[in-house]
Amino acid sequence: MPSVPASSSETAAPAWRVVGTRPVRPDGVDKVTGRALYGADLSLPGMLTGRVLRSPLAHARIKKIDTSAARALPGVRAVVTSADLPRAADRIEDLGEGAINLRYLSDNLLAGEKVLYHGHAIAAVAATSASIAEQALALIRVDYEPLAPVMTVTEALKPDAPLLLADLHTDRMGQRDAAPSNVASHLRHERGKLEEGFRKAALIIDRRFRTETVHQGYIEPQAATAQVQADGQVTIWSSTQGIFAVRSQVAEVLGLPVSQIKVVPTEIGGGFGGKISVYLEPLAVLLSRHAGFLPVRLVMSRTEVLTSTGPTSGSDIRIRIGADAEGRLTAMQAELYYEAGAYPGSPVGAAAVVSFAPYACDTMRVDGYDVVVNRPRASAYRAPGGTNVAFAVESVIDELAESLDLDPIEMRLINAVREGDRRPDNLPLSKIGYVECLQALRQSDHYRTPLTGRHRGRGVACGYWGNWGGQSSATAVLNSDGSVGFNVASTDIGGSRASLAMQLAESLGIDYSQVKPRIGDTDSVSYNDVTGGSRTTFATGWAAYELGQKLSAELRQRLALLWEVPVDTVTRQGDGFAAGEKRVGFAEAARLACEDAPLMVSTTVHPKGYGAAFSVQCADVEVDPDTGKVTVLRYTIVQDAGKAVHPSYVEGQMQGGVAQGIGWALNEEYVYNEKGELLNGSLLDYRMPTACDLPMIDTVIVEVPNPGHPYGVRGVGEVNIIPPAGTLANAIHRATGVRLTALPMSPPRVLAALWDKSGYSPFA
C-alpha cells in the first residue's frame, strides 16, 4: 500500500479536475434504452426453465419427499432435493457483510430434515417451459410432521419453546451452554462501572422498543443461470453483489474447487445487502448437471423474494440512558434481541457497535442476543442492524433532551464523539466529521425555518456506520489512441462505474471520457470483495488510483527510453509528458509507448483506512389525528462523504437510504398469522414508499476528508438508513405528544397511540 499523497490532507483542499464533477455514467445509455442485461434477461441456446417448490408450513419435519410423478412428466429434465447436496462442512465463511455458516447455508438452499419457515425451498425442477416446470412442482408429494412455529423473540426465549435447531447451543463469548436453545449467541461490550454511572445521573430514561421484519425490496427478483459442461466446468451468470462471494459459496456447498467455477455478473437491479447470499445459483448448477448439461435459468417470483430471501431482523430492544442536569450522559445500557430468522446470523453484532457510537460516554454496557425464529434467514440490509437500535437510542436521547429543555442538536453536540473517542466495542474512531454534520444541520435553512401549523412536529436523529475496506482488484489496459480499458470486479449497483472511472482519470491525468470501465468475471479479474459495506468507491477507488499512478510511471519509463533521457527528467505537463524540449500529449505518448509492446497494469489493494460515516437528519411531519397517517413534509440529510467523487450519486445514496428508512419507519413490515404464514407477500401488501409518499429529500454533503484515501473518500452508501426511524419518531412525538416505541409507525399504530393518550376507546 503506497502512502497517501500529501495533497489529500485537509489543510490544503486540492482542486481535482475530475473528482467532484457530475459526468453521465458510462452505462447510462444502456440503462435508459433497455439494452442493459439484468439477471432474467439472459438467454442461452437450449436453456431450460427452473422452478422451486417451497414449504407452505413455517415449522415441520420432512418425513418423505416423492418426486417420481414430477420426474415422469414429459418436458421435465431434472428434479433435485437436499439429497443431491453434499453434506456441507460446519464452517463459517465471512462474506463481507456478515458471516455465514455453510451448513446452515446448505440447509437453507434445500431443506433437509426440517422446514424452518414458510417459503423454505424443498425441491427444484428444470423443464422445457415454465408451465411444465410449474405443473411438475404440483406433482411433488411432501409428507410433513407439523411443528409449532416460533415467530418472535418472546416466544423463542420461553423455557418450553420448541427448538428450531436441535444442535444449537448459546455461545456466550466463547463459552458454550450445555443445553440447546433458540439463542445462538450472547455478546457483551462493556466499559466503566454501569450502576455508578447511573447514580451520577440527574435523569434516567428506560424504555423498551420493538421493530418488525422488513425486506430490502430490490425491484429485480433474484435470477441465476448455470451451465455445467461434460468436463465438470461450471459457468454461472448471476445478478449478485459479489461474483467471488457466489463462487466461494457454490464451491463450498457443492464441494467443488473454485477453479472449476466461473461466475459472470449480469447487471443487478438493486441488492442493498440481499444479493450476497446465494439462493438459486447452486440449484441451477445441480439442475444443469442432472439435465444433460443444458443451461438452466431460475428467476424468483416476487412472492418468493418476499417469503424466502432477504429480510432483516425484527428486534426487541431495551435502552436505558442517564444524563446529568447539563445533559452530559453518565451511563448507557442496551439489551438487543435480534431475530436471525431460521438460522443464526442476525446483524446484532453490528447493531451493538452502532448503538452508542455517536456518544462519548465512558460508562456503557451493550448486550446482544442472536435468536432463531421461524422466519426466513436474515441477510444483510444496508447498514445491517443499525436502523433498529438507532430508532431506540435516538428516541431515548430525544426524550432526555426534551426533559432537560435542551435543543436536540445541542444535546448531541454536548455528547458528540470526536477523533480518538471509542466505540462501544472500544475501538477508537479515526478522523470523523460528526460535529461538522451537526453544525451544518443547525445552520441549514430547514432547521432555521420555524415549523408552524397544527399536528406538526420536527424531529432530529443521527447515525454512525463503520464502513468497510475489503479487497479490490483491477486492471487497466492502455490503448494506442490514449484511451484506457478499465476492468473491475465490483458489481455496479448504483453508479460505481462512474465513480471508479473518475478516480482513474484523475490519477492518470486524462479525461473521464477516455476511461472505459467494464465489469469482469471471476476468471478475468483477481479476487474482489462484494459491493457492500459502503466499500466500492472507497476501496476499488483506491485500486483505480493505483492503476493511474502505475500507468503514469510506466509511460514515463518508456518515454525516457525512447527519448534517451533519464526517467526522472520525464514529467507530466498539461495533458501530456515532457522532458527538456521534448513534449507529447497523452494520446501521442500512448501511441509511442505501445508501439512495441502493449501496456497493461494490474493491482490488488486491501486498504484499512476506511473512515467511519455519520449522518444527521431532520424531518418535519404532519400527523392526521383522524387516521393516524404521518405525512413527511420536509426532510434534510446531512452526511459526511469525506470527498464526494460524483456528488449526484452521493446525493442519490443519501436520498435512497432515507427513502428506505422512511418506509421501514412508517409502513413496512412482515405480517404473519398464528401459523407462521406470511400474509403480505406481494408489493401491494408489503407496501414500499411510492413517489406520492415522499417529498423532495434535501441533501447537505459535508466533506471532512478521510486521511485513509488518496482523494479523502469515505463510504456513503449505508449510514443514511440508520437515522430515519428515530428522526420520524421524534417528529411524531413533537407533533402529537405521543412517543411511539414500535415500528412501523403505521396509521393503525399511530391512531391507537393517539386514542390511548386521549382516553378515547371507540370499541369499548
Binding site: R22, V24, R25, D27, G28, V29, K31, V32, T33, G34, R35, A36, L37, Y38, A40, D41, S43, S131, Q216, G217, Y218, I219, E220, P221, E267, I268, G269, G270, G271, F272, V299, S301, R302, I493, G494, G495, H646, S648, Y649, E651, G652, Q653, Q655, G656, V658, A659, Q660, S682, L683, L684, M688, P689, T690, A691, C692, L694, M696, I697
Partner: protein
C-alpha cells in the same frame, strides 16, 4: 401444448408478427418470444410498474395484459423511445443528466410513465408528476431525482416551439 395463434401488431413503429399461446402475457411475449428485454418484470401482478408500456398511447402494465389483446394495436416499449439515429428521447437524456437512476431496473417503466404523463399534461406540477409515477416503484433513488428530471423535461419543452419536439411515435 396449447394451440398457438399469430399475433400481429405495430411495435415501436414496425409491423410485427409472432406466435403466442393464449395464456401468455404481453410481457412474456415481449421478453421471451420477441427478446425485447428492456421491459422488465418486477412483480408480475401490476404492483411495481417495471413492465410499463404504452398501448395505443395509454400507459399499461404489460404483465396484466394478455398478448392476444394487442392484436392489431400499437405498442411503444422502451426500445422505441430513442430515434433510430440513436438520439435519445429528452426524458432518457434528462434521466442521465439528473442521475435519476441507480440500478436502472425500474428506469424503462418510469420513462414510459413519464412519457404518458407529458403527452397528457405537458407542464405538470410536482404533485401531478408524483401521482403519475406512483405506479412505478423505485427502491434506489427516493424518487427525488426522477421527479426533477421529468419536471426539467417539461419546462424545457414548454420553452421550445412545438416543431422541435423530439418525441417520436
Amino acid at each position: 401444448m396449447r394451440k398457438k395463434s399469430v399475433l400481429e401488431f405495430t411495435l415501436n413503429g414496425e409491423t410485427r408478427a409472432v406466435l403466442c399461446e393464449p395464456q401468455q402475457t404481453l410481457l412474456e411475449v415481449l421478453r421471451d418470444e420477441l427478446r425485447l428485454t428492456g421491459t422488465k418484470e418486477g412483480c408480475s401482478n401490476g404492483n411495481c410498474g417495471a413492465c410499463n408500456v404504452l398501448l395505443d398511447g395509454v400507459l399499461v402494465n404489460s404483465c396484466l395484459i394478455l398478448a392476444l389483446e394487442v392484436q392489431g394495436r400499437t405498442l411503444l416499449t422502451v426500445e422505441g423511445l430513442a430515434r433510430s439515429d440513436g438520439t435519445l428521447h429528452p426524458l432518457q437524456q434528462a434521466f442521465l443528466d439528473h442521475a435519476a437512476l441507480q440500478c436502472g431496473i425500474c428506469t424503462p417503466g418510469f420513462l414510459l410513465s413519464a412519457k404518458a404523463l407529458l403527452d397528457e399534461h405537458p407542464l405538470p406540477t410536482e404533485s401531478q408528476v408524483r401521482f403519475w409515477l406512483a405506479g412505478n416503484l423505485c427502491r434506489c433513488t427516493g424518487y427525488d431525482k426522477i421527479v426533477r428530471a421529468v419536471l426539467d423535461v417539461a419546462r424545457t419543452q414548454a420553452a421550445q416551439p412545438p416543431s422541435v419536439s423530439a418525441t417520436p411515435v
